[in-house]
Symmetry: none
Amino acid sequence: MHTQVQRTLDALRIEPSGVPIYVQIREQLLGAIGAGWLAPGAQMPTMRQVAVALRVDLNTVRHAYDELDAMGAIRTVRGVGTFVAERPPRRDLAAEAARIDSLAHRLVAMAMTEGVDPVAVAHRVLTLEERQEQGGEG
Amino acid sequence: MHTQVQRTLDALRIEPSGVPIYVQIREQLLGAIGAGWLAPGAQMPTMRQVAVALRVDLNTVRHAYDELDAMGAIRTVRGVGTFVAERPPRRDLAAEAARIDSLAHRLVAMAMTEGVDPVAVAHRVLTLEERQEQGGEG
DNA sequence: GTTAGTGTATGAGAATATGCATACACAAGT
DNA sequence: ACTTGTGTATGCATATTCTCATACACTAAC
């Protein structure tokens, strides 16, 4: 369905964190694929769709897609579109856990810095995300 | 102890992921602080130590330290070294709610841009903080 | 005062990232 | 044939990142 593409598109975000834009796109799309959010064989968002949605250059998006293609996560069909690979590389659970840990630790550090209880922040995040999922699901 | 610094130093890794080196250093050091490897007030690894350990330029390391300083996570003392910032005294209870909200949104943004589920991170924070209360602190 | 260890600073150069504009090549539908 | 929507490609300009080399300024210890 288009809806999957649209949801993925809406979920894409770029932050001025110092991380290159193409890397942010690459990681988010990889996450969407790894989570099954974009099923094997399904059409990916168009490069132009992503470029417009994020207000980013087409070549920048292509950079991300090129790397996804190189790692076998997607396959590209010229003149047609890009699609999730039939058998995308299984996501590394250990690496995933490490990234979650890193995020968690960084949050604790930031909370410490600002004199705030990290637990309170975590609870706030949970309530925020709950309310966002009530908007309907596919 | 030196050992804390040495452990942090040994744990530092640079990967050719497209993420700028200074960003990788920034995030890993912030993570070390949040994990408690580097306690408030403790001396950070020397910029030159990091530069040598990672075989990276001193200015690149400085870039990372500058940003950590700018966000208040560390404090720099010229001619002496850099230290983990002390926890600020908790004062405004009203302004605290705003900071919690701000941090929560920042965490969600960070997680999303890295292709990670914010809820997973929140849960990880909760379990980490539980264990810290049980096993004693510091 | 000297020395050693810290952070701070500058300039040159190469590589990369990004935007902007302009195309080209291919596939599918009309 | 034509149009539309894909991915592919180039050239130019700018900003950032990173390395290398070379210092300077400050602090603490001797």
